[in-house]
């Protein structure tokens, strides 16, 4: 049986780990290689690294981090933030990334999804979608460029277009919930799972294990990604899985 996944998400700013609240208010939370070693010991299922530095025009610093992490953690890494070309993606994969995470460019250049997918397989292309609840209620507004640019397409429309281009997974993040530790946006995750035929990772809002349980039990989500939960509390993936196993949710045995 395929297991559910719990994924620590690590935001990188100038080579340091940071954590945001609603995509702002950065706090330094450490060194990515050291934290990845700890997450490995804590039996995390996968690691997501997102570079949120907007003034770095290249992916070289990200590749350096991944090259270091791949010496200490033996699990899949999804890496993104600032990927602008096929060559950027190929460079990250060559340096240890298993999957690349595309966000802003996925709105404008579907060809890059197709090229990466055809070369490295669909599973190597994760499209990250940042969403805000529509102020009028009902539906979501999609945002690119670290939440600063509004995109004129629906969640379902964007998911369908990216899948048709070759995306193999979606990373759906709630900007409203980011860093609040107030729980996942379950309707957002549910809508994404309904629209996608490939796996969906939900992100944004993790604060305690009950919220993980609710999101896993109330949606078909394949994985949940957590920042604050593991950054700021004494929670860790081992304890999360021990708790969630009580509700019949399956996790890996190593």
């Amino acid at each position: 049986m395929l297991k559910k996944r719990i994924i620590p998400v690590q935001l990188l700013l100038d080579g340091r780990l940071v954590k945001t609240t609603r995509f702002g208010e950065y706090r330094d939370v450490g060194d990515p290689v050291k934290s990845s070693r700890v997450y490995s010991d804590q039996r995390a299922d996968e690691l997501v690294f997102l570079n949120i530095s907007r003034d770095q025009p290249n992916v070289t610093p990200l590749a350096e981090v991944i090259a270091g992490v791949s010496k200490v953690a033996f699990m899949p890494f999804a890496v993104g933030g600032g990927i602008r070309s096929f060559d950027d993606a190929a460079f990250l994969i060559k340096n240890g990334a298993d999957k690349v995470v595309l966000n802003s460019i996925a709105y404008r250049d579907k060809e890059i999804i197709t090229r990466i997918s055809e070369r490295f397989g669909a599973q190597a292309v994760v499209v990250s979608i940042d969403a805000r609840r529509a102020p009028s209620g009902g539906g979501y507004i999609l945002k690119s460029a670290c939440g600063t640019v509004t995109e004129d397409i629906t969640l379902a429309g964007h998911i369908a277009a990216c899948e048709a281009a070759g995306a193999g997974e979606f990373f759906v993040q709630s900007i409203d919930q980011d860093g609040t530790m107030a729980g996942f946006d379950i309707p957002l995750i549910r809508e994404a799972c309904r629209s996608a035929t490939v796996p969906v990772i939900g992100c944004g809002g993790s604060g305690d294990y009950n919220q993980l349980r609710d999101a896993f039990l109330e949606t078909n989500v394949s994985a949940l990604a957590c920042g604050s939960l593991f950054n700021f509390s004494d929670s860790n993936p081992i304890r999360a899985k021990a708790f969630l196993s009580n509700y019949g949710l399956p996790f890996k045995v190593v």
């Binding site: 049986m1 395929l2 340096n95 193999g168 997974e169």
Partner: protein, 205 residues
Amino acid sequence: MIGILDLGMGNLRSLSNAIDHSGFDFQVTENQAAFDDFTHLIIPGVGHFRAAMGAVFDRQLRPQIRAFAASGRPVLGVCLGMQLLAAVGTEGGEMEGLGLVAGTVRKLELGPGLRIPHVGWNSLTKKKDHPVYEGLKQDQDFYFVHSFAMQCDDSADVLGETDYGGPVTAAVSHANVVGFQFHPEKSDASGLKLIENFCLWNGKC
């Protein structure tokens, strides 16, 4: 010296690091020049069967890899590398594989509600005893990412299965050749154990 064949398909760094972490020397090579120095050969890969076999044929590596296997030294195919061991692939049209394990690589047939690609941690059911399984328990989890899988002609070559809408070939072995559909280098402590076992293996069962 463990040889890692670079067909230009995907991430080799993690596999190299896993071998290094396990305490073995390795060399990454794009051709057969160093094959004589290798005690073991690993064929990794992520991507399309046709593209990878194309790289094998372009570099005239097929007879070289088959000769390496015929020498009795252990050969390991990982993910796409395991699929290449098969006689026939069908991704992007039917194509000849390395022919080291009798079988055909076909797209996963999935029931309703299952998603392709098969991504994530899934349990490995051991179908027979093998030196690479030394110290591994039944039904430990490994990390899979694939849309195609090998179907062996001879069930005796099936080393392990996983369950994804039905049994899926997760590991194969034939004489001194083994293949893992999952990524041992991405599979935490159990994966590192498999890699260590392979590097210690003398190719005999």
